[in-house]
Amino acid sequence: MFAYVVKRLLAGVLVLFLVSMSIFLLFWYGPNEPARVMCDTKTSNRCNAERLDRFTEELGYNNAWYAEYGEYVKGVFVGRDITVAAQTTRCDAPCFGLSYKNGKPVWEDMKERLPATFSVAIGGATLYLLLGVPLGVAAARRRGTVQDKALVSSFLFLSSVPYYLFALLTWLFFSLKWEVPVIGDTGYVPLTESPTAWFGGLALAWICLGIFGCTQYTRYARGAMVEALSEDYIRTAKAKGLPTRTVVYRHGLRAALVPIVTIFGIDFGTLLAGTIFTEEIFDIEGIGLWALRAVGQRDLPIVSATALFSAVVLIMANLIVDLVYSILDPRVRLS
């Protein structure tokens, strides 16, 4: 088990190395002049060819890419000093470079945005699991009945509405039209500052993610449960004289959890990497929105940092799923 985890972690590090290198190469061989953004910002949009050359030199774009990549990796682990436009900035580890737009170390901004994204992701995912799995189980138990069909078709309808439209309508009604107290508020407030404001600001985002995500999880859970309930061991459990609740939950749901956990791991990882629509509509300064803006502004250090972050999160999610899997299913041997 331990050896397995180490092996997986090493493989994860290798993937991160490759991902970070490919992103880094984009700086060098990307379609535009990487130094232009910083040059524009630092010279109040009076960036001429001469100044651009200077910034290009200062940002290291005249050196070999692998030498600069080495610097970059070093910065991630031990930090480094970066000198641009006669100004030296200390960039502490983990250093992902300085933002071309505001000149601050990328990690400083990122650090502030992570709690917002994590709050959105954890709340949303909890809600959609808590709604979706029980609904799916209930539908599976009533398979083929009017209730089941009504639930499945209404959720199919709901999930075919574009998410941004759904979130936008939620915001329009709850925040603008009805002005629901607390829940209608938007914008992220740190939990440590004011728990109620934190809750209020995130509630709509959670509701949207929760309801929208639960349509999928109802479907997954229903499918997994229908399959589990048709297994021979369910018949055995019934034949033993066990109460229906025990049969459905201890024997059925236990088996159905395996595929649900697998999908959930990946989904949750994706949520942690940023929820662009949710953050935009509910005015939450998180990773997703930040990454989107950075792409628009060609702020390459931020783009690469967020891309790396998604990679880390997804690799971790995969690893955790595999570990949970081996705990859930004793037939999976990790040795």
Binding site: D232, Y233, T236, A237, K238, A239, G241, P243, R254, P330
Partner: protein
């Protein structure tokens, strides 16, 4: 009533399932009975209704979809129409069932011991966990699992096929049920292991004096185990009687077909295997008249088109009492001796 009646009495049992294509009649007008200490063998091809009828005894069919009529009495208590709570008291306590594929029938995520203990505790709510576990070890020991106190903590996938079936049997017998239904208990096993399991079942039956129903398509198992035999075809009983009668003086061409399909290791190399032509009929649109007539090679010996138009009654033939058959043939024993026996077991004729 229960003092005079056999432990299990099934009368005119009919099980229907509505499907999208129409009503499927899986079991029709089935009657049989089993006494304590006796074994009934139910034989037939896949889809003949063997399993469906015995699952009805435990009330395992979904009450919302299955339409069950007739009567099933367990120790005098009516099972058809019994509520869920009443059924739960019977299941596992009075009647236990063991299934064909023990790997699929045991929960893959729980330890063998836990699954056995669960079966015990549900009917002994006052038993502590430790007592239930001790009982589980005791039962595993009883069915011949080596080092039961260690193997009790294994998962099903760590057991061999034969051991899994032993564990299933241990789980079935843990509450000392009066009726054990074994649904193809040896089909998924190696022949040598099959013999061990059958031996074990016989031993346990003697020890617990329970009634046993053994469902199989293997006439060898029947010859080994059964006191009485019920042959099923297309949801109906087609021949029913003492095992020896059925195996030596079968009255119904379908039973002949089954016998002709069994290879015999000691048999003459001149003897032939004769498969039954065709496939079992659709239960959605069963054939008119006798359900077996499209596959029956002897229907030409019945005058007129009786086989095609009329379902034969399930009645006593020319052999002894208690031997029922569903066939229009007038002198089946003559045909059996003249046409069937010489082909499938010529050596038996020489002995005569």
């Amino acid at each position: 009533m229960s003092s005079t009646e056999p432990f299990l009495v099934v009368e005119d049992l009919t099980v229907r399932f509505p499907t999208e294509d129409g009503l499927v009649t899986a079991v029709q007008d089935l009657s049989y009975s089993v006494e304590k200490g006796k074994t009934l063998g139910i034989v037939g091809e896949s889809g003949s209704g063997k399993s469906v009828s015995s699952m009805a005894v435990l009330g395992l069919h979904d009450a919302r979809t299955a339409r069950i009529t007739g009567s099933i009495r367990v120790d005098g208590q009516e099972v058809v129409g019994l509520n869920e709570a009443g059924l739960r008291k019977l299941r596992g306590r009075q009647i236990a069932m063991i299934f064909q594929d023990a790997l699929a029938a045991l929960h893959p995520f729980y330890k063998i011991g836990g699954q056995l203990a669960e079966a015990y505790q549900v009917h002994h709510p006052k038993a502590t966990k430790r007592e239930a576990r001790r009982k589980a070890v005791e039962m595993l020991d009883r069915v011949g699992i080596p080092q039961p106190d260690r193997r009790v903590d294994d998962f099903p996938h760590q057991f061999s096929g034969g051991m899994r079936q032993r564990a299933m049997i241990a789980m079935g017998l843990i509450n000392d049920p009066s009726l054990l239904i074994a649904d193809e208990p040896t089909t998924a096993l190696d022949v040598t292991v099959q013999a061990q399991i059958l031996d074990l079942l016989q031993d346990l039956q003697r020890e617990f004096n329970s009634a046993v129903i053994i469902i199989t398509h293997d006439l060898g198992v029947i010859a080994e185990m059964a006191d009485d035999v019920l042959v099923m075809y297309a949801g109906r009983g087609v021949e029913y009687g003492p095992g020896k009668e059925i195996l030596t003086r079968p009255q119904m061409p379908y039973t002949w077909g089954l016998l002709s399909s069994v290879p015999d290791v000691r048999g003459d190399t001149d003897s032939k295997l004769i498969p039954i032509p065709g496939n079992p009929p659709s239960l959605l649109n069963p054939p008119t008249g006798c359900a077996f007539h499209p596959r029956c090679v002897h229907s030409d010996k019945v005058e007129g088109d009786l086989c095609v138009t009329t379902m034969p009654a399930f009645e006593q033939g020319n052999t002894g009492a208690g031997h029922l058959k569903r066939c229009h043939l007038r002198d089946p024993e003559v045909i059996f001796e003249r046409e069937v026996l010489p082909v499938i077991a010529p050596e038996l004729l020489e002995e005569k």
